[in-house]
């Protein structure tokens, strides 16, 4: 194709998206659209998969059967989210194997929030309430994104997320209304997860690359800072309601803006964690890669069995 023809196709393509038409897997698309989507969707899938690890840590130690079945179901949902997203990503012509390889080699990123440790049971509450809460704010606009398979996967994901946040908040309510030690545990978890949750919504607009293109393709509808403000405004009253204190001395209602002012985010910490120097980056990758490698003989055996069964069937036909 000549450059002229490509320019033409690109213009038609952008116009389709502007008209709110969806792009499907076999449609022509600019190479940059494909690559950007593979990057964002796979990062998203990896985050769901790695995100199971910090919570998986507490399944066997959940304080009651009610909590245990809920946490188990939540973690299983996250596995499902990862799988919806991987399969949507594969429609763009990349194989599952390549995707895993990018995660395992460290080439692909996942959300940096999962590189923090889960040291007490209250962390299960804080994660559901704050981390899933922030994830929902990030994900809801994606239900209308331009790439059909991604949008459909996100509709499914979003339907399932609200239980995640509620089960987390319920844990926090119970602890906050419990013994002084339990309340302290809840407060401690909030103290540790608050700032990483704010960082999870991404770098400030001033430092965020590719926002404009992402807006056009509906990969993003609001800027990181807008999403962060939305998260803070909705979460602060929820903390107040259960008598917990947001660990930010500068947090103040701004009557004029109709929203909260908040303190400085430690972006150095964010970039450190993104670059691999968070408290659990190594541990997470070791757990993930280890599980993949230890499962190899199972995958091979299943494949060998399937092939044998197939041969048997073919013989019977003859």
């Amino acid at each position: 194709m000549s450059e002229e023809q490509i320019k033409n196709l690109e213009a038609q393509f952008e116009a389709r998206i502007a008209r709110d038409e969806k792009i499907e897997a076999k449609d022509w698309m600019p190479e940059k659209y494909r690559q950007t989507h593979i990057r964002q969707m796979s990062q998203h899938a990896h985050s769901e998969i790695v995100g199971m690890l910090p919570e998986g840590n507490w399944i066997t130690r959940a304080p009651s059967l009610r909590r245990k079945v809920a946490l188990l179901a939540k973690v299983q949902d996250e596995a499902g989210h990862g799988l919806y997203l991987y399969s949507a990503c594969e429609t763009l012509g990349i194989s599952r194997d390549e995707l895993y390889d990018q995660l395992h080699s460290g080439k692909a990123k996942y959300s940096s929030i999962f590189n923090y440790p889960t040291v007490t049971w209250a962390d299960m509450g804080a994660i559901g309430w704050l981390v899933d809460g922030a994830a929902i704010i990030n994900q809801v606009p994606l239900c209308n994104t331009s790439y059909g398979p991604y949008a459909r996967a996100m509709v499914r994901v979003c339907k399932e997320e609200s239980f995640h946040q509620r089960q987390g908040y319920e844990i926090m309510i119970k602890l906050a209304n419990g013994t002084p030690e339990q309340k302290e545990m809840a407060q401690d978890a909030l103290n540790r997860w608050w700032w990483p949750s704010l960082m999870m919504l991404g770098p400030t607009d001033a430092e965020s690359i590719h926002t404009e293109q992402s807006m056009k393709w509906k990969l993003k509808r609001k800027s990181n800072d807008e999403l962060r403000q939305q998260f803070i405004d909705q979460t602060v009253p929820q903390a107040d309601l259960i008598g917990l204190t947001i660990p930010d001395p500068d947090l103040k209602w701004n009557e004029e803006k109709g929203s909260y002012d908040f303190g400085e985010i430690n972006w150095d910490e964010f970039w450190q964690v993104v670059k691999g120097h968070g408290p659990c980056n190594k541990e997470r990758m070791n757990a993930r890669v280890g599980a993949w490698e230890r499962g190899e003989w199972v995958r091979d055996a299943a494949m060998a069995y399937a092939e044998k069964q197939q041969q048997k069937k073919e013989k019977q036909v003859v």
Partner: protein, 95 residues
């Protein structure tokens, strides 16, 4: 490195009797039986289905969107296939 990767399967789910199976997504599995089991866990954790079909993705033949013109445009000028094409007197109520 695994000797051979699990193939890709497309998953179709009937959400309740009376409705058709609808494409839900895809997954990897070693064989059809495993594909069904995995489809249950991945796509029907909340009673989303009463019946599942799986088919290995390589068996699906899809039309090419580049040929949409010759495939689908001929239907556009066949207005006589629609009831509104036909003139009836106003007195005719239910037709």
């Amino acid at each position: 490195m695994a000797t051979k990767n699990w193939p890709l399967w497309e998953v179709f789910v009937r959400s309740k009797n009376g409705l058709e199976h609808r494409h839900f997504g895809s997954l990897h599995a070693a064989d059809a039986e495993m594909a069904l089991e995995n489809a249950r866990d991945v796509y029907t954790r909340r009673n989303e289905g009463v019946s599942i079909w799986v088919v290995e993705s390589k068996h699906i033949t899809a039309s090419n969107p580049e040929h949409n013109g010759e495939l689908f445009e001929p239907a556009q000028d066949k207005v006589y296939r629609h009831p509104t094409f036909y003139d009836l007197p106003d007195e005719v109520k239910h037709m």
